[in-house]
Symmetry: D2
Subunit: 266 residues, 4 copies
Amino acid sequence: MTSFPTSLGTSDAESISLLGQDLAHDLMGKVSFGELAFWLLTQRRPTSGEARVFEAVLIGLADHGFTPTAIAARLTYLSAPDAIQGAVAAGLLGGGSRFLGVTEDAGRFLGEALAEAAEVDGALPEIDDAAAWDAIALRAVTRCRDAGRFVPGLGHPVHKTGDPRTPRLIGIARDEGHFGPHLALFEAIGRVHQTVLGKHLPLNGAGVSGAALADLGLPAELLRATVLLARCAGLIGHIAEEMHRPVANSIYLTVDRNARYVAPGQ
Amino acid sequence: MTSFPTSLGTSDAESISLLGQDLAHDLMGKVSFGELAFWLLTQRRPTSGEARVFEAVLIGLADHGFTPTAIAARLTYLSAPDAIQGAVAAGLLGGGSRFLGVTEDAGRFLGEALAEAAEVDGALPEIDDAAAWDAIALRAVTRCRDAGRFVPGLGHPVHKTGDPRTPRLIGIARDEGHFGPHLALFEAIGRVHQTVLGKHLPLNGAGVSGAALADLGLPAELLRATVLLARCAGLIGHIAEEMHRPVANSIYLTVDRNARYVAPGQ
Amino acid sequence: MTSFPTSLGTSDAESISLLGQDLAHDLMGKVSFGELAFWLLTQRRPTSGEARVFEAVLIGLADHGFTPTAIAARLTYLSAPDAIQGAVAAGLLGGGSRFLGVTEDAGRFLGEALAEAAEVDGALPEIDDAAAWDAIALRAVTRCRDAGRFVPGLGHPVHKTGDPRTPRLIGIARDEGHFGPHLALFEAIGRVHQTVLGKHLPLNGAGVSGAALADLGLPAELLRATVLLARCAGLIGHIAEEMHRPVANSIYLTVDRNARYVAPGQ
Amino acid sequence: MTSFPTSLGTSDAESISLLGQDLAHDLMGKVSFGELAFWLLTQRRPTSGEARVFEAVLIGLADHGFTPTAIAARLTYLSAPDAIQGAVAAGLLGGGSRFLGVTEDAGRFLGEALAEAAEVDGALPEIDDAAAWDAIALRAVTRCRDAGRFVPGLGHPVHKTGDPRTPRLIGIARDEGHFGPHLALFEAIGRVHQTVLGKHLPLNGAGVSGAALADLGLPAELLRATVLLARCAGLIGHIAEEMHRPVANSIYLTVDRNARYVAPGQ
């Protein structure tokens, strides 16, 4: 018979273990939920510094008010209040390329630029050698522009002069000794992109989150999972708020009453 | 024009606020993710004791290995690896009445029994008056049995002698000064049910979680939301594990190769 | 080894069968999609008359413009255009008790009233004995009112004088010889409810659909599945329209720009 | 105030229209559900020949037994039987790149090869000029092989000698006068690929469906939507079967009892 390997939860009559730990005695009451989430993703326990950076990312990405995903969750709750798992799921399903994908895109983009720089230059620069990081950033941004693509993590529709999460997360990562090459390159992109793109754009919070998570060793394919967990907290906040101060019906009526019929195929 | 009230995320060009706090400076790096989740659900900041109990619940419910929801998430990842939000959502959609609903059911059941006891007796007993709690528990369990219903939170398919999470969570709640009437009644049910039901059943982890959350002041309708957040962390753990040590294809083949055709309608 | 029985799809190297039929030769090109859907639900092939009633129901429930579910699907497509399965799923998740549940509720309500009438009276009336149906309807509506509950299928926010789908579906069912006791009772409710409730309400399309499906022999627990299939077609229509004439971003901005911050917990 | 244009459902107190038609009088009882689905996707009414091809595609893709998506839907139903919309949604969420994406991939691949051929050769060949189609097919397959990519629609894990849906769907399309350039090129790929790839592979049913839908004028970005609708019917069939002859619990136990613990990070 096929067996199905896992390092996550197992149990027998007397005990429950999770990640090889005794769930009741080694985890409950002893680690934070964010710490456990990091551990589940990477199968290694984070240091307290790593956990602090990771939780700061989760908090920075948890909610941004009436995003399309939050609205979708509230409308689903309106239609099916008996199944709030459906409302949370509907909200998470917006976690795709456009609104929630920047974190993954930034992590991947920075990782590729670092891999190439390491190959071309033999090694990465010292972490504080700003001039060397600027040179790498310049190559990466130029290549993006030449390919007609946006630089992931650059620009924000609201925070045109600067996203307040960016310096804050960089500061926390520095404090905890986790300011690594991804953040160094991301900061350098912030310094040099104007000379290539001709205008100044802010380094956004989704992008800096991708850089910080990559510096914690999370592979690019797990960054979206992190964002989804962060957003899950925000979505249950929206659903809880919808329960006592509803807006979804009023959103629905606003749309429905302003519907305008157009002949098909036009 | 209709306006849409919210106390969650808002932003302007310079700042982002969440729950009336400055997201970058007051929340990131200063509160834990679990703390923020409690805050989002209840719109009030938990004390550190409340946060510890709440995070212990989240950790206790995060993962139980190859549950139906974890398997569903892995199979969905197998089919659509480019859209992991779908795999997380598919897993959460199992968060319904049967496997994840016990926490909510227990919270609601205990709450109703307490409300009735307060009405009948004029007030609830002192928290350590075990005999008085036993009397309330006896009434509640008897009524369940007479109605042919299960007592939510009682019994477990694996932990037949005792779920290790139960004493642990009660201990944490006592340590933090949050052992309240729901937990007191739940413990009493553990003591008295055998005299009514004729057999001893363990108080399970999902049930004690409902009691503990209710003692933190969370209303019954938010308990399932808490479980969904806990489970979200477990699901991303499963998806991360599936990425590097896959089992979903092997699960699929195990089922498909053992399919047995039966004539329709039989 | 456990085996897993099914009457649905199976295949070997040369052939594919579905419901015991040769998929390629007996089904493709020979039955309609609606016919197959009925067959999948009930594991029996519908007659052409049953198929016509069933498809009329699917068509009547497919779309109602900017419903909460359609808006949720469009917002999800906006956020994750690379994963349209997520947008369809998000839309279906609104298929719960409030907006899409009426069909199931009506089928169940009528079925229970018929079961009770058959028990009380020994048998059901002749299908055209309007006075006898009126008597049953009167009992059922009165009991609803006394219990403080709504009669499922009665009332509509827009079609206050009459839902045009109701007489049409009844007409189709009569034409095809499938006007049975559920529709007879539903029509009777339309005649008698005013004397109990003191006001005239229209028999709505969701309710008549439940009655018609029940008269085709579909059990109450499959009625919501039928509505979900109908709605799936409407949702892919909305997503297709969103691709070439988008409105979701404009819905999002309408909400976001009219957000009004309220202090937490108020 | 912003208005929200749509050509789908609208209604007023007396009437309901859909796609500019009177829903009750022009659609219910007069068009088939498959016909309406095509109409919703394309905003034009299909001819009866187009509808027959489209419904044959829907039927060919509706169900393949215990696929990962069907198993995910059944496991979700097991966990949350009170919310079958969640079970259907969970099943659809597997409609991504790997198992359900072939139809879209094939349509897109064929469309690109045709666009290039039209540009290179000035025009497409006559529909029955097999030699000319073979030449285009040879170029397209060679380019795939040189890029190290699979040819979408070629190969099948079970139907190694031939997928019975392929000749059947081609036959239906020919009968109805909808055998166009996508199908001609797809057939040619079936004839020539062995000379390039060195082995014979069958043209599969998902691929031929993409070709047939593209010949009906459906753009590539709507092909996955069509597959999702087809699969929705299969999924409700699985859920209906699960209700009366359950297998999900037995699948769950098969996996859980054969779980094998592995130390984390290995």
